[in-house]
């Protein structure tokens, strides 16, 4: 099919995921969700905590990312992220711990607005995950 493009997700430890048959990827870009289809213009953007949705032919996969950078060029999409996990196999306890830590971070009064915004986003997304 011609609407497919390449996707690679890398974390510092390893190349997390590599696919060449995705049709659409929705990433939580910093200024709002962004859907990427084939032949998108070359773009670089960074991510806030949220969910990356990957649509390939028949199935849809969801991953949680903490932060990251996306680069789209010549029909290949790279996502660099320091923390990523599959929502299907996510660990409830781990999520709870992450929420707790993020909420702890929020109490730090020296945070600037941007960081505060990012962390509160993180708490929100994680909470919505743990209720599902």
């Amino acid at each position: 099919m011609s609407e497919q493009f390449n996707l690679e997700i890398v974390s510092p430890e390893k190349s997390f995921l590599k696919k060449d048959n995705v049709t659409e990827v929705v990433v939580p870009a910093f200024e709002g969700e962004m859907g990427i289809l084939k032949d998108h213009i070359s773009i670089i953007s960074f991510l806030k905590p949220g969910i990356v949705r990957i649509m390939s032919d028949s199935k849809e996969e969801n991953f949680y990312v903490d932060d990251g950078i996306v680069e789209f060029k010549d029909n290949s999409l790279s996502i660099l992220t320091s923390n990523i996990f599959d929502i299907k196999n996510s660990d409830k306890v781990q999520i709870q711990e992450m929420i707790k830590q993020a909420e702890g971070d929020l109490e730090n009064e020296n945070l600037d607005d941007q960081k505060r915004y990012i962390i509160s986003q993180k708490v929100e997304v994680l909470k919505s995950l743990s209720f599902n």
Binding site: E8, V10, P12, F30, I41, S42, I44, S45, F46, E71
Partner: protein, 291 residues
């Protein structure tokens, strides 16, 4: 000449040392495989990161106002050196090579009349540097507790560096580590991370016109701190692979040397045993003849 008993003792002591070095070699070999794997797996991330930053910095027109982490503080007075070594010894020239490289650089800085600050990562580096550069070391970090190299640790180091940079405690930051080439070759590296040196631009990236969201500056100011942690992490991965490789070949040599020593001692032992027997025989025979 040493008595037979002494020789026997020495042989057995060398043999048990050989057993230890052999075991260490084996452990290092299995750890090396893992470390090498993760070093190779970590490369795409840092490569991609570098590429993106390269693209970004190419598209920034107003270089003067670009983020400080990229352009530098405009000064060149205080140099911060991050010396990354291992926490354990017995790994051949691994630590010494880094230190040697670092010391050369230190000398250059001091000769140029600039201020030198050092952060050591890994306790061996601190041990070797504290004699000469005690007052230059501003911090020592060690990750003895963490079993594997992980990004979290690297991020900690990165945050410390950035914090110090924002407080204007230094102008230029360089890291020292060993790059893993293969089991017997590790190349000590110095890499400047602040201000970022445009590393070997591959030319292919400059023509692309990217769209940025949000603006270039904002992306860059978010990306650069991450890049520092990434570079540190890369250095840590390379280092741990190098450490194991270096230890493996060092222990291999030690095992071989111990084997040679055992052979030599055994020959010496046999010879002196034979000499003693012959001497006894001569004594008996000459005693019998004199009767």
């Amino acid at each position: 000449m040493a008595s037979l008993d002494d020789l026997k003792k020495r042989i057995s002591s060398v043999k048990s040392t050989q057993k230890i070095t052999k075991a260490m070699k084996m452990v290092a070999a299995s750890k090396l495989r893992r470390a090498q794997e993760s070093a190779e797996k970590g490369r795409p991330y840092s490569d991609k990161m570098n590429n993106i930053i390269l693209n970004l910095s190419n598209s920034i027109i107003d270089k003067e106002n670009s983020p400080k982490l990229l352009a530098g503080s405009g000064d060149d007075k205080v140099h911060l050196c991050i010396v990354m070594t291992s926490d354990r010894g017995l790994c051949g020239g691994f630590n010494t090579n880094i230190i040697k490289k670092a010391k050369l650089y230190f000398q250059k800085i001091i000769d140029a009349g600039k201020t030198l600050k050092i952060i050591t990562v890994g306790s061996k580096g601190y041990d070797q540097l504290k004699r000469t550069y005690k007052e230059n070391i501003i911090e020592k970090i060690s990750f003895k507790e963490s079993k594997n190299t992980n990004y979290f640790d690297a991020d900690k180091v990165g945050k410390i560096i950035i914090e110090k940079f924002e407080k204007k405690e230094f102008d230029v930051c360089t890291i020292f580590y060993n790059q893993f080439k293969n089991v017997i070759t590790q190349i000590p590296q110095e890499q400047q991370i602040i201000p970022l040196k445009a590393t070997e631009s591959e030319g292919n990236s400059s023509e692309d016109n990217y769209e940025f969201e949000p603006e270039e500056d904002e992306i860059l100011s978010n990306l650069l701190p991450k890049n520092i942690s990434t570079q540190i992490f890369k250095a840590m991965l390379e280092n741990s692979a190098s450490e194991q490789g270096s230890r493996m070949s060092a222990m291999d040599n030690a095992t071989r040397n111990a084997g040679e020593m055992v052979d030599k001692l055994t020959i010496q032992y046999n010879r002196s045993r034979q000499a003693a027997i012959t001497k006894e025989l001569i004594e008996i025979i000459s005693g019998a003849e004199s009767l």
